[in-house]
Amino acid sequence: MAEHGAAEESSRVDPPGIALGVEAAAEPAAKHETRNLAEQRIAVATQWQLMWWRFRKHKLAVGGTLVLAAFYLLAIFADFFAYVDPSESDAQRSLMAPQAIHWFDEGSFKPYVYALKGTRDPMTFKRVYVPDTSTKIPIRFFGRGEPYELLGFIPADRHLFAVEGAKASESLFLMGTDTQGRDAWSRLMHATRTSMTIGLVSVALSLVLGVVLGGISGYFGGAIDSVIQRIIEILRSIPTIPLWMGLAAAVPNDWSVVQVYFAITIIISLIGWTELARVVRGRFISLKQEDFVMAAELVGCSKSRIIFRHMVPSFISHIIAATTLAIPAIIISETSLSFLGLGLRPPAISWGVLLQEAQNIQALVISPWLLIPSFAVIVAVLAFNFMGDGIRDAADPYL
């Protein structure tokens, strides 16, 4: 099947390195030869290679993929990128503004920040911080700091940057601190880990539900199909947020962070599988009429062999695309629920939990850096959308 599809698409795909050579070679003969070569490469290319070549042309999708890779690196090595314990609070340094980094010290590259001195404004009684220009706090790259376990089992204490030997009060606050004096940068790193993985775990659950139910619906058809389709229609016509809120509020208060994490993923995916099921069903129905499925049936293949050996490989790319496009919606759901205080709860840290601090507009006007996590949400969602669009276009240029 893949070869058949490839021949049809030969005019649409430029294998890497060949299209460029064509411009330089002026002689028609050489041109002809190169094109032949290109066609040969396309004819023998696998479906995945063809997809990859098409995907590469989609600049936004490639950009989105790189951004996501960076996000997941942050998520995996959150402890390394953070430089202090994200839940270490200190009322003495609440709502500090982000510190300005001075990159050069007396002509040489020696980044440092000034220590901040907290005082009270005699007029408004607000806590204000003034840089103490006499105390320079040097920033060390790959310095030692808070001990942690890399990947959960390798003991380490090196961080991307650290302030060695500094007192807690004169530490580094790249993105300022929150109301309880916790370092916003370190919290953002750990929140990225939670929010980016919750998308993956939840989408995996939705995927299982969606593929099984959508597959049954599309492959068997008939009464089962209409029952499943009605269920999907019903679920899609219910406003999800109130429903999620109701279910999430029922999560007992004494559950641990991990239990709540999984409860929320389950709640989100229980309603989120419908779109995936729709895609899978549509693919099954269109593939069922293909000749190669008929051929497999005539040869006497078992049902499961037809499904998993013959049908699934030809639409797996579509499922990957639909899955990628489902993740941003899940991330937004988790963020919204946690923002309301019904999703993940402190001491868990996620983007939504961080944004809870930004709920109060007056506080936000005084300390706008509390809104920084929202950029992470927007960028991650955009990147997922771009990447998903790219995969979808690459998987099926006719869609």
Binding site: R236, I361, I378
Partner: protein, 329 residues
């Protein structure tokens, strides 16, 4: 045509039933029941409830019966319009919800009107002038609009209003009219306050609809009948507006079915940030106070109203699409 209406109506009834079961589950999910939370709230205010009183209260409310009986009793009461008492408020649920539910729907409809009013012309423009500079601009803005969750957009709007214009853009009424009875002045005040929540709610849906409209219209514009119309000397405006737009409009109406639940859903959380007097803040409060009767009722009524809205959009679709009217799908 009749078959279509009956089928849609049946599905609507089925959906309402499913919503009622889900709301009932929400009411019963947390450990303990109405009486336990009643006792808790009473002891918090200093007065104790004895074992006997608790038992009597349970019997009176039918909480000692099996769950199915309770469900039937609950739906029976619902059908009579008796939604029970809101504990925290000490008033019937219908009293507490009343106006807020209406306002939720007003805001949702306003958001849909806004979505349409913007998505239609932009969608047409983007399809007709494909790959033009403005098309790219709209695509980019649309992508960003899709990526910003409603509550974040609301936060940003509030922040900008507060920090740069020194104005509170939240709320639905001017402070002096909040408690006033309904009259023309109040309605006018409401219309003046509606645009901001409507825009905040509508942005994501608008972005989606623009993309749908654009791709639908592009498909139509490639068809031979468009060329025929052009060949016959129809002006470019009429070539586009007379037929292709009308055909492309069809999925536009049919998406209300998905758009409405989405917007109602979003209105809950946006209301909280913009402090709108909808059921959103009420629902959150009820859930935090574990006033599950109030919460369950809100989820149920929101769901039912959404189903009604979807049903109306189905009828609308039938009206604009002769294929459905004449019984062909």
């Amino acid at each position: 045509m009749l078959a279509y209406i009956v089928r849609r109506l049946l599905l609507a009834v089925l959906t309402v039933w499913a919503i009622s079961v889900l709301s009932f589950i929400i009411i019963h999910l947390p450990p303990g029941d109405y009486v336990t939370s009643y006792i808790a709230s009473m002891s918090a205010s200093g007065s104790a409830v004895s074992e006997g009183e608790a038992k009597a209260l349970r019997e009176q409310l039918g909480l000692d019966k099996p769950i199915t009986v309770q469900y039937l009793k609950w739906t029976g009461l619902m059908l009579q319009g008796n939604f029970g008492m809101a504990m925290e408020w000490g008033r019937p649920v219908s009293d507490v919800i009343g106006d807020r539910l209406t306002l939720t729907m007003v805001i949702s409809v306003a958001a849909i009107v806004f979505t349409w009013a913007l998505a239609l012309p932009i969608g047409i423009f983007s399809a007709v002038y494909r790959y033009s500079f403005m098309d790219y601009v709209f695509t980019l803005v649309g992508f960003i609009g899709l990526a910003i969750p409603g509550f974040l957009l609301a936060l940003i709007v509030m922040y900008v209003g507060f920090a740069y214009f020194d104005a509170n853009v939240g709320g639905l009424f001017s402070p002096d009219l909040v408690e006033a009875p309904w009259n023309m002045a109040k309605v006018w005040d409401l219309t003046k306050h509606l645009p901001i929540p409507a825009i905040v709610l509508g942005v994501a849906g608008t972005a989606q609809l623009i993309r749908i409209m654009r791709s639908n219209l592009l498909d139509e514009l490639r068809k031979p009948y468009v060329m025929t119309a052009r060949a016959r000397g129809l002006s470019e405006y009429w070539v586009v507006m007379r037929y292709p737009v009308r055909v492309a409009l069809n999925p536009f109406v049919s998406t209300i079915g998905y758009l409405l639940p989405y917007i109602v859903s979003g209105s809950i959380i946006v209301s909280l940030v913009l402090s709108l007097p909808t059921v959103g803040p009420l629902l959150l409060k009820a859930l935090i106070a574990q006033d599950m009767f109030l919460a369950g009722t809100i989820v149920l009524l929101l769901g039912v109203l959404t189903v009604i809205g979807t049903f109306i959009s189905d009828l609308l679709l039938m009206w604009i699409d002769p294929r459905i009217r004449r019984g062909r799908q």
